[in-house]
């Protein structure tokens, strides 16, 4: 039986979150001139295909060696990585667009000790979202690892599964977030 729950319920960030959450630019997890820097950009769309200009995206990711900067991943033996933040935050602009500059994370273990395909964890907040949405960004140049990834494999519909894989674009990787509709992005129950 589930224990009695006492958690504080979620509420929407509303339209004015920039005030409290985006006073500092968090979209650069690494400098653009870092030799391994990658640009990940995209647009957030609603169910009518219209861009969402008041969304905020957060990234949480491992470093290039597949280590999370957190005590549960044995922080004590984590080699310091100057100039890299494993957390990022970016609001969408008037056209619903966002852009992060980061490093491609290494593989991290899954629940069974099997490696997971490299991925970035993403939270989506917006006016109209009463609680956050969670998705993952996978990489298009990791076909083999993606094919073996347990989380991706748990999604039966190949088109739905493919919404989690970024697309190679001229200036980096493109990852659109579609909140609703036929081409909706896969979101997770975390």
């Amino acid at each position: 039986m589930m224990p009695d729950s006492v958690s504080t319920p979620s509420q929407t960030v509303g339209p004015f979150f920039h005030l409290g959450l985006l006073a500092e630019d968090g979209s650069r997890l690494v400098d653009l001139d870092h030799p391994s820097a990658i640009r990940i950009h995209g647009t957030v769309y609603d169910g009518a295909g219209e861009p969402v200009p008041d969304a905020m995206l957060e990234l949480w990711q491992a470093n290039a060696a597949g280590r999370y900067a957190h005590h549960e991943d044995g922080l004590e033996d984590l080699p310091p990585e100057d100039g890299f933040s494993s957390f990022g935050r970016c609001g969408t602009d008037d056209a619903g667009r966002f852009e992060f500059v980061t490093l491609k994370p290494g593989s991290v273990p899954g629940t069974n000790g099997q490696p997971q395909a490299p991925h970035i964890n993403m939270s989506v907040f917006a006016r109209g979202l009463l609680k956050r949405l969670v998705t993952r960004i996978y990489f298009p140049d990791e076909e083999e690892a993606n094919a073996a990834d347990q989380v991706l494999a748990s999604i039966q519909d190949p088109a739905f599964r493919s919404t989690l894989v970024a697309h190679a674009a001229r200036d980096g990787l493109r990852f659109d977030v579609r909140l609703q509709g036929e081409r909706q992005t896969a979101f997770f129950d975390v």
Binding site: P3, Q11, D54, D73, G110, T111, L130
Partner: protein
Amino acid sequence: MTRPQSGGYRRDTGDHPPYLYPAYGSTRLRAPDRPLVILPHTLSELTGPVYGHGRVGELDNDLTRQHAGEPLGERIIVSGRVLDGDGRPVRDSLIEVWQANAAGRYAHHGDRHPAPLDPNFTGAGRCLTGGEGRYRFVTVKPGAYPWGNHDNAWRPAHIHFSLFGPAFATRLVTQMYFPGDPLFEHDPIFQSVSDPKARQRLISRFDLSATEPEWALGYNFDIVLRGRDATPMEDHG
């Protein structure tokens, strides 16, 4: 390479609002319509940002001291504890808040409510929880404001709270309300939480012991994040 991994966080049991809540109009085109994919809790979900350290200034938790003068309105002290689902304090964790001024106006270019801006009030603050999970903000009581969701729609006075907790899985953004607000029954955002007991957990409590004589009323707001499974997962490594 395998690394030890402890138990995951308990799944939410219905405290949270649904994505689609048609009375809150903006959910209609933004709520996902395909079922969520169940995600096992791996290191990706059990770790999370330790964000804000070294960035939080000493006065960041006092929203009344960010400008040359004092903001107008009723000065209040909002304090409480951040706890995990088993009642243990969540220490050293970043809380970010934002709110309207005493007249019900946000210092945000998107806010068109014809109420006065206050040159002495921005309405944003942050702090880290202390040893017992405690936090404290000094601010002014925000005003109610109209929001156009339906005819004669007004939001009850509230302060937005953003919390990280210990892991990616515990991230929470919520709103704190004030006791006895007559707008509760008319507000679809508040009402989107279906369990009345869960809704009560969004309402702060007037706290005489936190009230400072001749200076400010105290409100208490404890925040409870998700609990964690007691049994560690087997390490198949």
